[in-house]
């Protein structure tokens, strides 16, 4: 980059006020938004803005004058100018103003047709989509539910939660977004779902995982026990000789899958010994001999 004083056209002794004035004089001519069709103005404006950025800051200017820093690296980061949006804005742009050429419409068929089409497009342009977040309970996510979403500005919409909805999934409610400015359809409401964790269940895709405590007797002897599922408790058979880690699979008791059908509930058993001291159990265990080969820590031997 060349000398910032040169770029702004001021003397190295210029006062801050002179620098500001010089910058304004250039910026009025070069600001890209005041030159919508001139692609070169952006590059020249960047130089002027960079020079001003350097010289308008007393500390930076002092360091530059002392040769501590050079003029590079002070350019402003790439900026999106209004003209970049205005030139590609679509139908329904509220800033569109046809008064610069509306009078041609009477004498020129092309312009009249364009104006008519533009007005038609604006009239039919749909409203904007609106984004919302909705937090639901674990069980509602599995079974489906209807939830009322309260909107920030008051008012509400009812959201039908499909069974098996997943964390982060976005539901599109047609026509529940912003109304059209003209006579087009309303935009959509996009509702992103987050699911509260459950104190017992865990979800892995369409499968539900559950850890279920069983008594020593139930594990050793086998039993029929009640197992909670998101759709209510069911009876399940604990096979004789079960252990901690034994997993029962309850077919179809998971969440509905998108391809049809349901996942399973996987019940991992956890054998519990009585928490209170029990003299009979203690007496039995002191006499009990599981045999010389019984060692639950055998796999852990080095």
């Amino acid at each position: 980059m060349t000398d910032p004083y040169e770029i702004l056209g001021v003397a190295p002794t210029a006062t801050p006020e002179e620098i500001r004035k010089a910058y304004r004089r250039h910026a009025k001519k070069l600001h890209p938004d005041l030159n919508p069709g001139d692609r070169d103005s952006e590059e020249r404006f960047k130089q002027v803005a960079g020079a001003h950025n350097l010289l308008s800051d007393p500390e930076k200017r002092r360091r530059f004058d002392n040769g501590e820093i050079d003029a590079s690296g002070v350019e402003r980061p790439q900026q999106q100018y209004y003209r970049d949006f205005a030139d590609r804005s679509g139908p329904g742009d509220p800033y569109e103003n046809a008064s610069g050429f509306a009078d041609f419409a009477q004498s020129n068929d092309i312009i009249a047709e364009l104006l008519r089409r533009q007005a038609e497009r604006a009239r039919r342009a749909p409203g904007a989509d609106l984004h919302f977040g909705l937090t639901i309970d674990f069980v509602d996510a599995v079974n489906g539910a209807t939830k009322r979403l309260t909107l920030p500005g008051g008012g509400s919409i009812d959201v039908t939660i499909p069974a098996g909805v997943e964390e982060g999934q976005i539901l599109r409610l047609r026509g529940k977004g912003a109304p059209s400015r003209g006579e087009g359809r309303s935009g959509d409401a996009l509702v992103q779902i987050s699911i509260n964790p459950h104190r017992m269940f865990e979800r892995h895709g369409a499968d539900i995982h559950l850890e279920l405590p069983v008594t020593l007797a139930e594990a050793v002897l086998g039993a029929r026990i009640r197992v909670p599922t998101p759709s209510g408790p069911v009876m399940a058979k604990v096979p004789k000789g079960s252990n901690t880690g034994t997993t029962l699979r309850l077919k179809g008791k998971g969440a509905p899958q998108s391809g049809g059908g349901c996942g399973d509930e996987l019940v991992r058993l956890k054998v519990m010994v009585p928490s209170e001291p029990n003299p009979e159990l203690e007496a039995f265990l002191s006499d009990w001999d599981p045999g010389p080969n019984y060692d639950p820590r055998r796999d852990m031997q080095p």
Partner: protein
């Protein structure tokens, strides 16, 4: 892309009061959705332009309105011109 009001104030570096005035002056025209004002990327770039006109170019409030109105006309003209050039190449040749 929709920008909620709080987000917009932050990204445009505006305070609520200034934004209200700008909207009242129709320098900015946000959409209303669910009784809430929502903004777009276009509004954001326009707010940036207004700030630069005021701060960097020393344009006063009266001037801002004039500039924006003329700019809107220029952009609309540019759009019509570009449509015209695209849609009627044959007529341009013969004419």
């Amino acid at each position: 892309m929709i920008i909620r009001k709080l987000d917009f104030l932050y990204r445009a570096q505006l305070d609520q009061e200034t934004l209200d005035i700008w909207i009242e002056e129709e320098w900015l025209v946000p959409q209303t959705a669910a009784q809430e004002q929502v903004f777009s990327e276009v509004d954001l770039a326009r707010a940036q332009l207004i700030r630069e006109l005021k701060r960097d170019l020393g344009v006063n409030d009266e001037g801002i309105g004039v500039i924006l109105s003329l700019l809107d006309q220029v952009h609309s003209l540019r759009k019509v011109l570009s449509h015209t050039l695209q849609s009627s190449p044959g007529e341009r040749k013969s004419g």
